[in-house]
């Protein structure tokens, strides 16, 4: 009997594509034979816009790329500019940056854990739990920066203003809540048979493939490659903290979930250590030029974002604006492996695999 493959359009308005992402699936029955991803629905030209602005103004656009892990983007950008202008960041500013970045990682992973449940058909429950826990951290960010989403709080050289007086106590109050919330989500999802059946052995990516696709972050670690920029290319002050790097064994969707759960625990550990060591002092270097002007140089600076290596490649030809600013966004690079992971799986699993990449479309399209 003659059979015909069917093309199915998924997205850009599909709720489980995590934004405006479209994939054209070629299916044979329930099996996915081919995937053609279409991106660009959320392209705002952040790279080009950054070229039109001086080094301080462009900070607002860094938040708008990966809008679930904004502090990491700001960190990468500020590090690039600091390297270019040869600015030393004060101790206190570095510590506050690390605390906020790690809290941001926790918040971002809570978002993932919540959305992961939805992708596996766990309708709404895990999502609301994830949001609830994220909200505690979001409140801290709001008290510190004044904004809920687009913080623009880091500046080349340090921070825009100091944290409020009760900051340390507030974070210490929230960490146990985050731990409790993580335990709830852990109990809800980890041992659950339905989650197991849906995610084990699905979307497997071997370590070799993961490296050759250029994956980074939890995806790479789930495949069994122990690689974390915080430890292997230490930036900021991450070499002063004790933490473990969780690694998966199978490289499937379930491992990616487990790696992220463990990463939240490690981030809580880092925040606790950073709070203990938090020094007093200035948050901006004393000799800060009013107008930032850079020499001719090419700079690459990368941070371990919540989704992987977030890098800024900055070319300066002198003056107060970058000549070229390239954002190496982890979501985009990780998404490139989608086709390899999806082919041969069921249509329903395509959703789970896409969810496990944890894409942020603002970061993919920029």
């Amino acid at each position: 009997m003659e059979t015909v493959d069917i093309n199915v359009n998924m997205g850009p308005q599909h709720p489980s594509t995590h934004g405006v992402f479209r994939m054209v699936l070629t299916i044979d029955g329930e099996r996915v034979m081919d995937v053609e991803p279409h991106i660009g629905y959320m392209h705002r030209g952040a790279e080009k816009l950054s070229e039109e602005m001086d080094y301080r103004q462009a900070i607002g656009y860094q938040d708008r790329t990966d809008y679930l892990a904004q502090f990491m983007n700001e960190q990468a950008y500020c590090m690039a500019v600091e390297k270019l202008l040869d600015i030393e960041v004060p101790e206190r500013a570095e510590y506050i940056r690390v605390i906020l970045c790690e809290l941001n990682r926790i918040a971002s992973h809570f978002m993932f854990l919540g959305a992961f449940g939805i992708d596996l058909g766990h309708f709404g429950t895990s999502f609301t739990y994830g949001f609830r826990e994220r909200e505690h951290i979001q409140d801290i960010f709001e008290e510190v920066t004044g904004e809920r989403l687009m913080y623009s709080y880091f500046r080349p050289g340090g921070l825009v203003w100091d944290v409020p007086d009760n900051f340390v106590q507030r974070v210490r109050d929230v960490l146990p809540k985050s731990r409790q919330g993580l335990q709830d989500l852990d109990m809800l999802l980890t041992g659950n048979e339905i989650v197991s059946v849906r995610s084990r052995g699905v979307g497997v990516m071997s370590a070799e493939d993961a490296v050759s696709w250029g994956l980074s972050g939890p995806l790479l670690r789930a495949a069994g490659v122990e690689w974390d920029l915080r430890r292997d290319k230490p930036y900021s002050i991450y070499d002063r903290f004790q933490y473990d790097i969780p690694v998966g064994t199978h490289g499937d969707v379930y491992d990616r979930y487990l790696v992220r759960v463990e990463e939240v625990r490690q981030s809580i550990r880092i925040v606790e250590q950073a709070l203990d060591q938090l020094p007093d002092g200035p948050i901006m270097p004393e000799k800060m030029p009013r107008k930032l002007r850079g020499p001719e140089a090419e700079i690459y600076s990368a941070v371990e974002g919540a989704r992987g290596e977030y890098g800024i490649y900055l070319v300066s030809k002198g003056g107060d604006k970058p000549y070229r600013l390239k954002m190496r966004s982890p979501s985009f690079c990780n998404l490139s492996a989608l086709r390899d992971m999806t082919i041969g799986n069921y249509v329903a699993d395509a959703v789970a695999i896409l969810g496990s990449i944890d894409i942020v479309l603002g970061c993919v399209d920029r």
Binding site: E142, E193, V195
Partner: protein, 154 residues
């Protein structure tokens, strides 16, 4: 089976908890002191004129070019009542363009502009986009009437 029972235990526990949400239009949560809504201008109550001298610093620093400032000679200075030689004549901010990055507050030399930290700064739904372009009187009115305790970082 055990895993599913554990999941049920978590969801059952949630049933006993107090809700964490609030009914928004009826109840408002407190916004923190540093809350950043849209920029407003501040009013110097001692001299009874705006702090803003119309120096264009914020206009030049704005990444999205949402501001327009016009400067004039200060009539109160000619009478000897004010120390400000120049003062703002016209000021427009397009709230539709503003991306709330706080850079205008940072660059201001006279602490004349601040981010609105009240709920009035957030609830700005309008039927016409042109209504989101605020002029000098509208920008000043909130602080002039004492409805706002603006937070300006030092």
């Amino acid at each position: 089976m055990l895993g599913i029972l554990k999941s049920m235990y978590v969801t059952m526990n949630a049933m006993m908890r107090k809700p964490v949400t609030i009914h928004y239009p009826d109840h408002h949560r407190d916004v923190p002191q540093r809350d950043r809504a849209f920029p407003i201008l501040l009013w110097d109550k001692e001299v009874d004129e705006p702090f803003c001298t119309g120096c264009h610093a914020c206009e030049r620093a704005c990444p999205v070019e949402c501001m327009t400032v016009v400067m004039k000679d200060n009539p109160l200075h000619a009478d000897g009542k004010s120390e400000r030689r120049k003062i703002v004549d016209q000021f427009w901010i397009d709230y539709g363009r503003c991306m709330r990055c706080n850079i205008c507050v940072e660059v201001c030399n006279f602490e004349a502009i601040a981010m609105n930290n009240t709920w009035a700064g957030h609830e700005l739904s309008k039927f016409d986009r042109n209504d989101l372009v605020l002029d000098l009187d509208q920008l000043l009115s909130q602080h002039k009437q004492g409805k706002i305790d603006a937070w300006v970082p030092e």
